[in-house]
C-alpha cells in the first residue's frame, strides 16, 4: 500500500515568500494525480518536497504510512522524471538505467543488472538503444529512458516534473498515451506536474488545481470541469465564457445582471440575492445560428473569428457582453459562419452556472463590475 500523504505542508522562502501554503493531500495507492496550475503556483515545489529536494517549512510528508519528511532524497523510495530528462551525458542508456542499481546499498550482480535493464527497455519498447549515448537519441527516446531509469528500482511512487514540456505536440500526445499505459500496467502511485490543463484532464485519476501556493480544487476531471469551485478553476480548466455581475431572482431560478444584460442562470449552492457572482458558460453548451435561436439566453453579435480545431469548430462572437466563444462539432461543410457574419448564440439557464468566488485561495469574492457596493 503506497499512499502519499501531505499534512499541512508549507514552504516559505526567506521568511516571507510563501511558495506552498499549508496543503493537505492523500494520493491513494496506484492513483495518478496531477498537480496543475499556472507558473509559480507551487506545484513543482510541492513535488520536490515529496521527492526530498526541498524541506517543508511546516507539515509532514508521509509515504506508505511512514513519515519521510526528514529523509534525504536518496533514502526515499521514489523515482523522479525531470523536465530536462537529466540523463547522465557521460553514460550509455544502459548505464543510465542501471545507475540506481549500481549505487544501491545492496549489491547486485552484473547479470541481475543487465536483466533489469533489458526488462525496462522492453517496457519502454526501445531495446535497440541500449548502448547508445544520450546525445545520440531523440528527445522522445530520452524521455522514455528517463522514465525507465526512474522505474528501474521499482519505486513505491513515481514523480514527474513537467516531463512532456520539451516535446513537440505530436510527440507529447504519444507520450501521454505511453505514460498512461505504463502507469496502469505497473500500478505505481504517481504524481504528475504540468501547466497544461489538457494533459491533466487526459491522464489523471484526480486533478489538483493549484493557485498561489494552495489547492483551489481537488477532484476527478469531470468534477473539476463540470463543477468548478471558483472562477479561477473554471477559467483554467477547459475553455469558458465568464461574466461577472449581481445575482437576482428570476422565475424559480436565478439570474445574473451584468449591467449590460441579464442572464437566466442555474443555482449553485449558497448564492443569495444581490451577491456578486460570476457566471460560467462552457462553449460547447451554446448553440449558434444565423438567427431565430430559442433558448433561455440569447446573445447576438458579429463573428470575429471562426476556426476549425481538429474535429471541432470554434467561433468567437463580439456581443454586448464582450467576447463569447461557441464550440460545436464540425459538420460536413466545415465552418458554417465566417468573419463578419451576424449570428445568434443561445444557451439554457442550467448551462449558466453561478459561482461566488474568484478563487478559493484567499477566499476572494467575485469582483462585480462597476456597481455601488450593497
Amino acid at each position: 500500500m503506497t499512499e502519499i500523504q501531505l499534512q499541512d505542508v508549507s514552504k516559505v522562502y526567506g521568511g516571507d515568500v510563501v511558495a506552498v501554503d499549508g496543503v493537505d493531500l492523500t494520493v491513494e495507492d496506484g492513483e495518478f494525480v496531477t498537480l496543475v496550475g499556472p507558473s509559480g503556483c507551487g506545484k513543482t515545489t510541492t513535488l520536490r518536497m515529496i521527492a526530498g529536494f526541498e524541506t517543508p517549512t511546516t507539515g509532514r510528508v508521509g509515504m506508505g504510512g511512514k513519515d519521510i519528511t526528514d529523509l534525504p532524497p536518496y533514502r526515499r523510495d521514489v523515482g523522479m522524471v525531470f523536465q530536462s530528462f537529466a540523463l547522465f551525458p557521460h553514460m550509455t542508456v544502459k548505464e543510465n538505467i542501471a545507475y540506481g542499481l549500481r549505487v544501491d546499498d545492496e549489491s547486485h550482480t552484473e547479470a541481475e543488472i543487465d536483466a533489469r535493464v533489458d526488462e525496462m527497455l522492453e517496457l519502454i519498447e526501445l531495446p535497440e538503444i541500449k548502448e547508445r549515448m544520450p546525445d545520440q537519441i531523440s528527445g522522445g527516446q530520452q524521455q522514455r529512458v528517463a522514465l525507465a531509469r526512474a522505474l528501474a528500482l521499482n519505486p513505491e511512487a513515481l514523480l514527474l516534473d513537467e516531463p512532456l514540456a520539451n516535446l513537440d505536440e505530436r510527440l507529447r500526445e504519444q507520450m501521454q498515451a505511453e505514460l498512461s499505459r505504463i502507469q496502469k500496467e505497473l500500478g505505481v502511485t504517481t504524481v504528475f506536474v504540468t501547466h497544461n490543463q489538457e494533459e491533466a484532464m487526459t491522464m489523471s485519476d484526480r486533478i489538483v488545481v493549484m493557485n498561489e501556493g494552495g489547492f483551489e480544487q481537488v477532484g476527478d476531471p469531470d468534477q473539476v470541469y463540470d463543477d468548478p469551485a471558483s472562477l479561477f478553476v473554471a477559467d483554467f480548466i477547459g475553455k469558458a465564457n465568464v461574466f461577472r455581475g449581481r445575482a437576482g431572482a428570476s422565475g424559480d431560478g436565478l439570474s445574473i445582471d451584468t449591467g449590460e444584460v441579464t442572464l437566466r442562470a442555474a443555482s449553485t449552492d449558497g448564492v443569495a440575492d444581490g451577491d456578486a457572482v460570476g457566471a460560467v458558460v462552457r462553449p460547447q453548451d451554446a448553440t449558434i445560428e444565423a438567427s431565430g435561436v430559442e433558448a433561455d439566453n440569447v446573445l447576438s453579435g458579429e463573428v470575429t473569428l471562426s476556426q476549425r480545431v481538429g474535429e471541432l469548430v470554434e467561433y468567437r462572437i463580439d456581443t454586448d457582453l464582450g467576447e463569447f466563444i461557441v464550440v460545436e462539432q464540425a459538420g460536413r461543410g466545415g465552418t458554417r459562419f465566417g468573419r463578419g457574419d451576424r449570428v445568434e448564440a443561445g444557451f439554457p439557464a442550467d448551462a449558466c452556472r453561478l459561482l461566488t468566488r474568484e478563487s478559493v485561495i484567499g477566499d476572494e469574492p467575485v469582483t462585480a463590475p462597476a456597481q455601488t457596493e450593497a
Partner: protein, 312 residues
C-alpha cells in the same frame, strides 16, 4: 512537531554536502575557505606588502628597511625619466593594441566565416599554439629575422630594393613588430569568439536586401562585433602594458618600458621599494583603465577572460 520520525540520516553525511538544494548549507564556508585563504595569504598579502614596501626607505646595504618615506614616489613623479617611460609604455601599448586589431580583425573574420570546420580548427590550433610559447622564443625569432644578416635584410638586398641592411634586431620597429606579433593571437581569439556569435543569417539578410559586402560589413557586422573589438583592444592593451621581455630583447634603452625599468630596479639596483612604488603607479594606471573600460564600454572580467563561450 518533530514527533517520531524514522529518519535514517547517518551522521557525517550531511555537513559536507555541496548541492544547492540544502539552503541551510554552511558547508560552503569550508569549501570556499581554502581557496580564499590561499588567495588572501598568497596574493592579497603580497600585494598589500608591495604597497607597504613602496613606502619603505632603501638602505644602502640591503633590500629595504621598515619605515615610512615618500621619497620613492617623489622620485618617480619628479624625475622626467620615469614619467616619460610611463608615457612611452602607454603609447606603445595603445599602438600595439590598434595594430593587433588591424592585423587581427580580418583574420578573425575570415576564420569565423570559414566553411570548412576542419581547416578552421587547424588554423586556430596553429595560432593558439604560438600563443603559449614563451615571449622569449618569439621575440628571439623576430630578432633573428630582423638582424643585420637576417632573413628580411637578405631578402631585400637580394631583390635589389636596398643595398644595405635596413632592419636591425633592436630598435623601435623591432619592438613594435615584436609586440604586435606576440599579442595578435589574443586579439584574434577574442575577436573570433565575438564574430562567431553573429548569426550568419544576418549577413545573408543584409545581402538579400541589396547591400554589397563592404556595406554589410560596415553596417551590420562591425557594429555587432563592437563588443569584441573593445574587449580585444582592452586585453591587448593591458597585456602590452605589462610586457617585459619583448622590449628588453628587441629594444634598446630608448624603447624600454616601465616593466623593464621596474625589473631592473629590483634585480640590478636592488632597490625594491622604488620598484614597488613604480609598480604601484603602474597598477593604478591599469586599474583606472579597466574601470574606465568597465564603465564606458561595459566590459567585465568575463569578456577579457578569453571572450567566454557565450561572449557577446
Amino acid at each position: 512537531m518533530a514527533g517520531e520520525s524514522e529518519s535514517e540520516v547517518l551522521p557525517g553525511e550531511e555537513s559536507s554536502s555541496l548541492p544547492d538544494w540544502m539552503p541551510e548549507g554552511d558547508a560552503w564556508v569550508a569549501v570556499l575557505g581554502y581557496p580564499v585563504t590561499v588567495l588572501v595569504l598568497l596574493f592579497a598579502v603580497p600585494l598589500a606588502l608591495l604597497v607597504a614596501v613602496s613606502f619603505f626607505p632603501k638602505p644602502s646595504g640591503g633590500y629595504y628597511s621598515v619605515g615610512f618615506t615618500l621619497e620613492h614616489y617623489v622620485r618617480a613623479f619628479t624625475t622626467p625619466l620615469y614619467l616619460e617611460r610611463l608615457a612611452f609604455t602607454v603609447a606603445l601599448s595603445a599602438g600595439t593594441a590598434f595594430a593587433c586589431l588591424a592585423v587581427g580583425y580580418p583574420i578573425s573574420y575570415t576564420l569565423a566565416r570559414m566553411e570548412s570546420r576542419r581547416r578552421r580548427q587547424v588554423y586556430i590550433t596553429a595560432i593558439v599554439s604560438t600563443m603559449w610559447l614563451t615571449y622569449i622564443i618569439r621575440s628571439y625569432a623576430i630578432g633573428v629575422i630582423l638582424s643585420k644578416n637576417g632573413v628580411l635584410n637578405e631578402l631585400l638586398m637580394t631583390v635589389g630594393v636596398v643595398s644595405e641592411p635596413v632592419f636591425t634586431s633592436q630598435g623601435l620597429f623591432p619592438v613594435v613588430l615584436g609586440m604586435t606579433y606576440v599579442f595578435v593571437p589574443f586579439a584574434i581569439l577574442t575577436l573570433y569568439s565575438s564574430i562567431n556569435n553573429i548569426a550568419p543569417e544576418l549577413e545573408e539578410a543584409s545581402k538579400n536586401l541589396g547591400a554589397n559586402r563592404f556595406q554589410t560589413f560596415r553596417r551590420v557586422i562591425f557594429p555587432l562585433s563592437k563588443r569584441g573589438v573593445y574587449a580585444a583592444w582592452m586585453l591587448v592593451f593591458i597585456l602590452a602594458l605589462g610586457a617585459y621581455i619583448v622590449p628588453k630583447i628587441l629594444g634598446q634603452p630608448a624603447q624600454w618600458t616601465l616593466p623593464v625599468i621596474i625589473g631592473d630596479q629590483v634585480t640590478l639596483q636592488l632597490n625594491v621599494p622604488f620598484g614597488a612604488a613604480l609598480a604601484l603607479i603602474m597598477v593604478t594606471v591599469v586599474m583606472a583603465i579597466l574601470a574606465l573600460g568597465y564603465k564606458f564600454l561595459n566590459l567585465g572580467a568575463r569578456d577579457l577572460s578569453g571572450g567566454g563561450p557565450s561572449g557577446e
